[in-house]
């Protein structure tokens, strides 16, 4: 497995594409900002959203039971799954019981997490992703590079190629409208032919047993209303206590995700439609463990809006595929680390710790703080790697001894200035590979501070402060 740094370097080799990727996501971030600013109570909404999550997740067994009872009373069949294997097995059994061979599937990060598509395909069920971006990804044989904009890394010309090969569109077609129309026609056939629909869930309301799903394309809605079998899959954390709470989360979700006031469709399903069978699969897969970790439980508050990806300077410039976990970016990092500290040890370092993720998070997860804490865990577990460990050890030594620190500073100031740049900017120096040394100051901070304090004392004696006001 290649590290984030290596994969990012490969991504950045295509300079134009990398720049375009960066700009495309920044455009979404700016839309989000305008939308957030248009709601006068935005910050209070974020506070409330977190308070509701805090309450709901601290009382999750009660709310899950309430949700289950209400959904069952409406005629839905509720299942629980501990891990991906159990989740996949349940879904397959349900599909088989109805002899469903073609599934119209809507976007679900949970099913990505569980590897559902591959599992079903292996067992003879054809799964068609119906979200346009997911379909592009599926036909290209890739995985999503973003949780809300899965094909953000693919150019329209490439979509044209993929559609030419699989949907028979004209060669060289790259007009987004015509390509979208072709996908509409192709997927409409699939919707009408599918014996089952599968979708993720945005919110599950305990009070009523309602499953709430947000889409712009209307694909989840066709998928859950047309076939005689519909399966909704959701993580345990999706349950919220009351209908009223939707008024908080829906106001935050689309504005944070894509800078829209609300998604085009927000479906509320309370049990199956007449003549339909509806199943709800509730999955843990490590969520209960996240909630058991004192410093990290807030990661489970996430509503999967993707705002932290759009704003992250590292994500924008390295692309979703440079992260090895199924969910990339800042939120992906703090989720991946629960899965496998060793395997994903480089992810907390794919961050500048600028805190922009925390600033935009609609449920106020302390994302960048958690990233620092994960670095801590990586070091403690001894997964840092030799070069970085050695550098940190040296730094620790210097920080502990004043004299050594001064000597180090002096050396760097005097010596490095006179050395040619290649000594530092070579392949062997990890830090110097893509960075220049800053300009060295003439004297140390200590010396400068001392000189400054002296002049300040003189100034205050003359009755003036630093700005020269009396």
């Amino acid at each position: 497995m290649k590290s984030h740094a290596r994969l990012a370097a490969a991504f950045l080799k295509q300079e134009k594409r990398a720049h375009w990727h960066d700009q495309a996501l920044w455009y979404v971030r700016e839309k989000r900002d305008r939308m957030a600013a248009s709601v006068p109570d935005w910050e209070a909404l974020r506070e409330t959203a977190q308070a509701i999550k805090r309450h709901a997740l601290a009382n999750l067994p009660r709310y899950l039971e309430e949700f289950e009872q209400n959904a069952a009373a409406r005629g839905a069949i509720v299942h629980y799954a501990l891990d991906p294997a159990e989740h996949n097995r349940i879904v397959l059994e349900v599909l088989k019981s109805k002899n469903a061979r073609l599934v119209a599937k809507s976007k679900s990060m949970l099913s990505e997490e569980c590897g559902l598509n591959e599992f079903l395909e292996r067992n003879g069920v054809e799964v068609v992703e119906t979200d346009l971006a997911e379909r592009i990804i599926q036909l290209a044989g890739e995985r999503p590079s973003h949780i809300v904009l899965p094909s953000i890394h693919i150019r329209k010309e490439e979509v044209g190629e993929i559609f030419h090969e699989h949907l028979g569109t004209e060669k060289g077609e790259s007009d987004p409208t015509r390509l979208t129309r072709a996908a509409r026609t192709h997927l409409r056939e699939k919707f009408l032919a599918a014996q089952a629909g599968i979708s993720g869930v945005n919110f599950a309301v305990a009070e009523t047993g309602a499953v709430v799903i947000c889409t712009n394309e209307g694909n989840a809605d066709l998928g859950n209303s047309l076939p005689d079998l519909y399966i909704a899959v959701m993580g345990v954390e999706k349950v919220i206590p009351k209908t009223k709470d939707l008024g908080v989360f829906l106001r935050l979700l689309s504005r944070s995700a894509t800078g829209q006031p609300i998604s085009a469709y927000t479906s509320h399903l309370l049990g199956p439609r007449p003549g339909q069978e509806m199943h709800i699969v509730i999955v843990d897969n490590g969520r209960s463990e996240i909630l058991q970790r004192e410093r990290f439980y807030k990661a489970a508050f996430c509503i999967r809006c993707g705002a932290c990806l759009n704003t992250c300077p590292v994500y924008r410039r390295s692309g979703g595929h440079s992260y090895n976990y199924v969910i990339p970016g800042p939120i992906g990092t703090i989720l991946a680390m629960h899965r496998d500290l060793k395997k994903y040890k480089d992810m907390p370092y794919a961050s500048t710790l600028c805190g922009s993720c925390t600033a935009v998070c609609p449920v106020k997860i302390d994302i960048h703080r958690q990233i620092v804490l994960w670095r801590n865990e990586v070091v403690e577990a001894g997964h840092l790697g030799r070069a970085k460990s050695a550098a940190l050890k040296t730094a620790t030594l210097g920080m502990k001894r004043t004299r050594l620190f001064r000597l180090g500073g002096w050396t760097v100031r005097k010596l490095l200035r006179s050395l040619p740049p290649f000594v530092f900017n070579n392949r062997l120096t990890i830090w110097g590979r893509s960075r220049d040394l800053p300009k060295m100051p003439a004297q140390s901070f200590r010396a400068e501070y001392r000189a400054h304090s002296k002049s300040k004392t003189n100034l205050s004696e003359s009755g003036l402060n630093r700005e020269g006001r009396s």
């Binding site: 999750l60 899950l64 094909s151 329209k156 509409r184 712009n216 009223k244 106001r251 006031p261 469709y265």
Partner: protein
Amino acid sequence: MTDTRRLILDRLRKHAIAGDTSYPAYSHPHAGISDLRRSFQSVIESVGGECRYVADLEAARKVISGSEILTAAKTICSHVKEVAEGNFDAEAKSDAHQCADVDLTIVRGALGVAENGAVWVNADPLRHRALLFLSENLILVIEGRDIVPDMESAYARIDFTRLRSGYFISGPSKTADIEQCLVIGAHGAKSVLVLVVG
């Protein structure tokens, strides 16, 4: 399954969530909307839909009969007979798949939300809820007094006790999945006209 269920619930009881975990008392009305009708209309337009205010159902009928969408539509399914007759009876079809070629559907909406242009459609009176998403075009008819400022006030008015399915629909179906270029008409309606009566 029962074992799994018990195991998951037991694990969830051992959470480490600290601080105040009580259910918050809150209310966040959208204070930034001075003119409900204007805001509702402008948001719908900004999301690619159309919104017209008409005095009564007769005026609504005139708007519809003069619209390009109606002229171009071959198969029309109307659930609001006062504004259009229609020529396709979805209620008579036993299977939603038989509604696949509907060009225009006209239904009533129960609420309009000024902050996001969404219209609440209770799909329970429809035999086939899929019609709302299969139809190439959609006309939603709502009453002028049913425009509320925000989602909080919208949910306060919706009764979920007997509801089976309800939808907020804000403008036409859309996607920006190809290079962030907005394309109207992904899988659902390619156009949405909201007629506000009175």
